[in-house]
């Protein structure tokens, strides 16, 4: 039982170069990076997805656009969620930032940058939030070894 708004979104928001799919009750749309900010703006103003839930990324090291930046939105009026995906390559992991639309984007984009190294164009405050100053690398990428610690305080002998 999908909300009728999702059918509307699916027909109107899928652009050439993108695709839509449904899995486990949720609509997931892949949007090209250049059209992402416009799609998000339309989602918020036209379709009423006013709550920005989450942004994260998936690292596919064997695939050519290496990262999938995944966004989730929720509509309090239609009571449903939608997922947006943007594919970005490894050498230029840049996506438009959503800070102009949602205040919640500030912290969440900082976390995504920390963990994966995705650069959000338009968010001028990409300081480390979960990690600390001086941490090199992006831990959630598949090529970062889990046990590689970077201690700030030298260990007692």
């Amino acid at each position: 039982m999908t909300a009728p708004i999702l059918d509307l979104v699916e027909t109107q928001l899928v652009l050439p170069g993108g695709e839509a799919s449904r899995s486990h009750g949720m609509l997931a749309i892949v949007v090209p990076a250049a059209a992402f900010l416009d799609s998000a703006r339309r989602l918020k103003s036209e379709f009423g997805f006013d709550l920005f839930l989450d942004v994260t990324a998936i690292d596919w090291p064997q695939r050519t656009p290496r990262f999938d930046v995944v966004y989730h939105f929720y509509s309090t009026s239609h009571r449903t969620r939608v997922r947006l995906k943007v594919r970005v390559p490894q050498d230029e992991p840049v996506v438009d930032s959503l800070v102009s639309l949602y205040g919640a984007a500030h912290f969440m984009e900082r976390e995504c940058h920390d963990m994966y190294g995705i650069v959000f164009r338009g968010n001028d405050d990409l300081r480390p939030i979960l990690l600390y100053e001086g941490f090199e690398g992006h831990p959630l990428r598949k090529d970062y070894p889990k046990l590689q610690e970077q201690p700030l305080v030298p260990y007692r002998s």
Partner: protein
Amino acid sequence: MNAPIPEFTLPNPVRPRFERGDRDDAVIVSIGPSHPATHGTIQVIAMLDGERVQRVDVHCGYLHRGFEKECEDHTWHNLIPYVDRLNYCSGLINDFAYCEAVETLMGVEITPRCRYLRTLLSEYSRIADHLTCVAASLMELGAMTAFLYLVMIRDYVYEHLADLTGARVTYTYGRIGGLARDLPEGWLTRLSEILDQYEVFIARIHGLMDRNRIFIDRTRNVGVISTADAINWGFTGPILRSTGANVDLRKDAPYLAYAELDFDVPVGINGDNYDRYYVRMREMDESVYMIRQLIEMLPEGPINVDDRRCTLPDKRLVYTEIESLINHFKLIMEGPDVPVGEVYTAHEAPNGELGFYLVSTGGGTPYKLHVRSPSFVHMGGVARMLEGYQLADIIPTFGSVNMIGGECDR
């Protein structure tokens, strides 16, 4: 002549956003990250003009324990203890939200008894979490008596859950496809006793706090946020409801057995600290009402779904039959085989929308496990509730936001 003392410098793990105030006499104070009122792990760098807070820079991440990276190394079952320690005040809700996400991916449907029991335990955990939040925030305002009453009731709840799950705080009770074990004898009787005692204690707290002049002065019109601001900054849960917005996943997108229960969603008026306190108190009452309904509605039957892909077989069979032995072995060593796909499941945690985003490429370990934690998003927006108020108002506001470090930093 003394030898020069070598300079002992420690690296500063954060870079604050502002170095100096816009006035010469603006003071920059770092509150935290080891501070009782910031619940241990948040650093609030505040620029003060006298006692008034002008700008605030909130730093979290001091409890980042690498949960997501750790989970990529464990099987779907083995990481349930990690999931527990996200919002450690209400450990069962994390368990059940995660297990439901994996069950959705696998296409497993839980038994009716498990569904009702999970709902009952979710509401029980919600009570424990709200008790902790209200107790801590009242203690920070100086009301030690209220803290002691609430922690006493919470201790009864913990001992009772230890009867069922074996642990007081971090339970690891949810399993993919069901629960770890069924209710012991007399558990429901003791539950009714605890709920009756809860009412006695809560009546005392209401008597102490609701019309207390000092409490009202400290929390009314402090930390006010409007509905539009709250939605823009991603607030969910009691904070959003205290502004007047009727947004609750248990009513909007019912999961588990919530569609069959009769309950109200308390909603505030002002969006200030007093409203958040009162919304939490009323939510606890609604939870008690729901638990009483669920005790009547609880059906008989098995706890775990009879599905060999995720449920461990009975021990007697494991020791006598070769198929069960191999099944058990595979489930433990390799993990349940979850098909390729991705899912986002959200439950209404006591703090807001707790979402699990799982990506599976087949096999027994997750490819990616991301938690949408309400506390983290709230930390992004809490600056709106702190700026413009007094320095001493940071304490009740932070207490009412209920930031849980394990969930915020993961």
